[in-house]
């Protein structure tokens, strides 16, 4: 797009990137541009090619086809140590034989920055990540979250055009990960550096990013802001992978405008909004309904306004505070539906074995052409 222009609004532009390993295409003809100073995430399941893509950006792999331009300069043939990008590795790769300060100073030393200046820069980096006294510590004296921040500081002190992050939170424990999500986002806006962040955890991508690319089998299925991906998925894969959801497989029986009548494999008839191609009569489709979109009621009447209605028995109450759900067993076929309990606390007294009515609107059931075979995603049931 902006190719050829002298000054670009994009820090990073990739065009038609392809990488093959033997006969296997790990990254398949991907193009994208990342605006200056934004937080860009690449979200996809394990093995979809995220790391491969990132390593091409860092220069550890040469693309088979396509071009990578950073600040409008092609990176083809530029070795990793000459690229204006830095990378935060999955396991951080902090140098264990050096102190924190030496770690941060490493890149500056390589650039031949004078000693005195290095000391100043290192200290200011430590200040900015809120660890002013960590300099003389050994790496193994730090907690997981502190290491995380040091790894980022080690890169940012070099003032890269683009910072690459390969699932940097993967190794942290649950609580810390929650905390670091918020912190990382804040660091990014504070430094103003462009972040390219890869993860297979949708909540990380959603919480932190300005833009998210959902990747699958070496291609980007959809690129957009988090709300966009969550509320308007363009493909079955995105619908299944981003956010929790219930999924039914079925065959289209009839259509009327974007409204689709589907007979599911387990014998229900559901009405959904068809999206994209492949929701014509006779097509095999997937239907997705988010657990929070399903309305609960003790009586069938209250749900009369809904296009889809079911009755079922509570199989399991998965109490989790504000995030509680129930597993409702569908009487006709034994299939299960996951439903989020309303925050109002209205159904807090539900117990396993009770009967319940469920319903959801046409607009909240999304119908997509079925994914090719294997692909699954993150559906709960």
């Amino acid at each position: 797009m902006a190719n050829g222009a002298d000054v670009s609004e994009f820090d990073l532009e990739c065009s038609n990137l392809t990488k093959r390993f033997g006969g296997f295409t790990a990254v398949n003809n991907i193009s994208f541009n990342i605006p200056n100073g934004s937080f860009f995430s690449i979200l996809g399941p394990s093995g979809c090619g995220k790391t491969t893509l990132l390593r091409m950006l860092a220069g550890f792999l040469e693309p088979d086809e396509g071009d990578i331009r950073i600040k409008n300069r092609s990176m083809l043939g530029v070795p990793p140590n000459k690229r204006p990008v830095n990378m935060v590795f999955q396991h951080l790769a902090l140098f264990p034989m050096m102190t924190v300060a030496e770690n941060i100073a490493y890149g500056l030393k390589r650039q031949g920055v004078p000693k005195a200046e290095i000391a100043v820069k290192v200290q200011s980096a430590l200040d900015r990540i809120n660890l002013p006294d960590a300099g003389p510590k050994r790496v193994d004296q730090l907690s997981g979250g502190q290491k995380q921040r040091i790894a980022i500081a080690r890169c940012l002190v070099l003032d890269p055009d683009v910072l690459l992050l390969d699932e940097p939170l993967g190794a942290l424990d649950l609580k810390l990960r929650e905390h670091m999500k918020v912190e990382l986002k804040q660091l990014q806006s504070q430094f103003g550096t462009t972040f390219v962040y890869i993860t297979h955890d949708q909540s990380e991508a959603l919480v932190m990013s300005d833009q998210v690319a959902v990747m699958n089998n070496g291609v980007f299925e959809q690129v957009g802001d988090p709300q966009d991906l969550y509320y308007n998925p363009k493909t079955a894969f995105v619908a299944g992978f981003v956010g929790d959801t219930n999924r039914w497989k079925g065959v289209v029986k009839a259509t009327s405008g974007s409204e689709v009548q589907v007979a599911t494999d387990d014998g229900l008839t559901l009405t959904a909004t068809g999206i994209g191609q492949g929701c014509k009569t006779g097509d095999a489709v997937d239907i997705f309904v988010r657990p929070e979109s399903v309305a609960l009621s003790r009586s069938a009447d209250a749900l009369s306004g809904m296009e889809n209605r079911l009755a079922g028995q509570v199989k399991n109450v998965l109490f989790n505070g504000a995030n509680s759900r129930i597993l409702v067993q569908d009487p006709t076929n034994g299939g299960e539906i996951m439903v989020t309990l309303p925050q109002t606390g209205e159904f807090n007294d539900l117990r396993a074995g009770q009967d319940l009515h469920l319903g959801w609107k046409l607009s909240q059931a999304k119908c997509f052409a079925q994914e090719a075979g294997k692909a699954s995603g993150a559906e709960v049931a």
Partner: protein, 287 residues
């Protein structure tokens, strides 16, 4: 991943030391030794190619008796060392923690840090007829005359087992340490007792360590010279002694080379059989 494209030249440079080492110091010398071994001395300064030196080994009971004796004693040494070392290694690896563990482990290494000659020397001082053991026994009144403990097969075993201990303890301790306590606990938790857990969990896990320890101990015993010579006295004829004798006191390099080769082949066979029996491979156990 490859860091940069390490060129063919770089690879070759990196490989050069290995190739020089293996070819100039291991492979070619053995090939040459083989050629020497098939050279028969028919008269002073007259040689011809033949297997005579090998035939000599099989025709002269003295030689293969010595060989068999050496092999049997080495296997015995290996077995005894394993039996003694296993409980010790287990104790160090699993029953001790922290400082005591490190201390005892280092203590096990102690004899190794001192040369074999010194160790054997110590045994000689202890075991000779006028030595400490004999004198102590007399002083305690257990025996009335001095006893010679040196120069018997048992003494050789004592010395060999002593020298071998380290090479058994180290691999055993490290494999046993790598066995997480929770496997043993799980074994008990599921109803096992000391014996069954040992047999079904601990020993299978320690197998690579056991095998590598056994190989090293066996080879070291087979190839030992000092201990049998110094502790063995008049009845000990160790096969290495035969090889040395051919080289040093008989100046018969051809025969010595043939013996060397036989030792190599037979020891390889035994090690190979051991590996097969225990279903291990050399690179797994040693590497």
């Amino acid at each position: 991943m490859k860091l940069g494209n390490s060129s063919k030249l770089g690879l070759l440079l990196l490989m050069a030391p290995l190739l020089i080492w293996l070819f100039a110091l291991i492979l070619l010398p053995h090939v040459d030794m083989f050629f020497l071994s098939i050279r028969e001395k028919v008269a002073p300064r007259v040689y011809q190619t033949s297997m005579a030196n090998y035939m000599e080994f099989f025709n002269e009971p003295l030689y293969w008796n010595t060989f068999a004796r050496t092999a049997v004693m080495s296997i015995l040494t290996t077995a005894i060392t394993l039996l003694i070392a296993f409980p010790i290694s287990y104790y160090i690896a699993k029953m001790l923690k922290g400082r005591m563990k490190a201390f005892l482990f280092v203590l096990c290494l102690l004899p190794f840090w001192v040369s074999e000659l010194v160790r054997t020397f110590g045994w000689m001082i202890l075991l000779r007829e006028t030595g400490i053991v004999s004198s102590t026994l007399q002083w305690m009144g257990v025996v009335d005359g001095p006893i010679e403990f040196l120069y018997t097969d048992a003494t050789i075993l004592v010395g060999l087992v002593y020298s071998s201990m380290l090479f058994m303890v180290v691999p055993l301790v490290s494999t046993l340490e790598s066995l997480d306590d929770s496997y043993i606990e799980a074994g008990y938790d599921l109803g096992g007792n000391g014996f069954t857990v040992l047999r079904e969990v601990v020993i299978p896990h320690a197998m690579p360590g056991i095998v590598s320890g056994c190989i090293v101990v066996f080879m070291l015993s087979l190839g030992n010279y000092l201990t049998p010579v110094l502790l063995g006295g008049k009845d000990s004829l160790w096969f290495t002694e035969q090889i040395y004798a051919q080289f040093i006191t008989r100046f018969n390099w051809e025969q010595g080379a043939a013996f060397g080769f036989l030792l190599l082949i037979l020891s390889s066979l035994i090690v190979w059989a051991g590996l097969k029996l225990s279903r291990q491979t050399l690179s797994e156990t040693m590497g």
